[in-house]
Symmetry: C2
Subunit: 148 residues, 2 copies
């Protein structure tokens, strides 16, 4: 099967499949004319990688997973360890993103977003500490405070 067909079946772009050959992940046979010739097993490996990548595994982990995939005497413990470590990585990244998101939400909430320059977001970036929009001063005795 030509690379185009392998691409269609695995869901990967042909470019990516060539790259995977370059780095030795899936190396197909070659025909007399130099064209790559993918067997069904190759396409299975490609689709396997595709799904592993979609789950966020990096190429090195894909390589290990592939090795386990074709090792009929594997211990599922090895697979589980890979997956568990990767899960921990993802959870760490999520916590990092959550910290960023919390700070950003906080800053965005306090920025008036009008045509004036005062901006707690810029202030925070400039000073390293959150500088809130000045709280509207306690209204004078009249109830009609802060007309803006």
């Amino acid at each position: 099967m030509n690379i185009g067909a392998a691409a269609a079946r695995s869901g990967l772009p042909a470019k990516t499949i060539r790259y995977y050959e370059d780095i030795g992940l899936v190396v197909p046979a070659r025909r007399a004319n130099g064209y790559r010739d993918y067997a069904d097993a190759d396409v299975n490996r490609l689709a396997f990688i595709h799904r592993a990548r979609d789950l966020g595994f990096d190429i090195e982990s894909c390589r290990r997973l592939l090795a386990l995939y074709s090792d009929r005497s594997r211990a599922s413990a090895d697979v589980k360890r890979l997956a568990t470590e990767h899960l921990a990585d993802i959870e760490r990244k999520m916590r990092e993103l959550e910290l960023m998101a919390n700070t950003l939400r906080h800053l965005v909430q306090h920025c008036r977003g009008d045509d004036r320059p005062d901006c707690p977001i810029i202030d925070d970036l400039a000073t390293g500490e959150f500088a809130p929009a000045p709280a509207p001063p306690p209204p004078p005795s009249t109830a009609k405070a802060n007309p803006r």
Copy 2:
């Protein structure tokens, strides 16, 4: 101030500071001997970028934020828009990671992780659909089932 001092004050590695000059983010003066000479304002800009990067802004956004930082007639709405878009990006990434994490947790939970090859994680990667570990068959009439 030499680049080493600017690095210490901004918290950025000298290498990174040189890179920021390369891409035109913070371009210091030069002394007669060719050494970079950072003014306080430069260091402020570097620290500003440092914090923006820590919040996950990419370099292009940092460039825009820096422009707004030094634009005294900026509209805070422009800053807020940048931050809001970035926040949305982060939240999108978090959702992606959460999907991965959910799948991985599910798979990991169902993998026995012993020395045998049966593994729902590998099965899922191979077939694209979750293949749970076969539920332990209903125990035979004796109560002493599954001694392992």
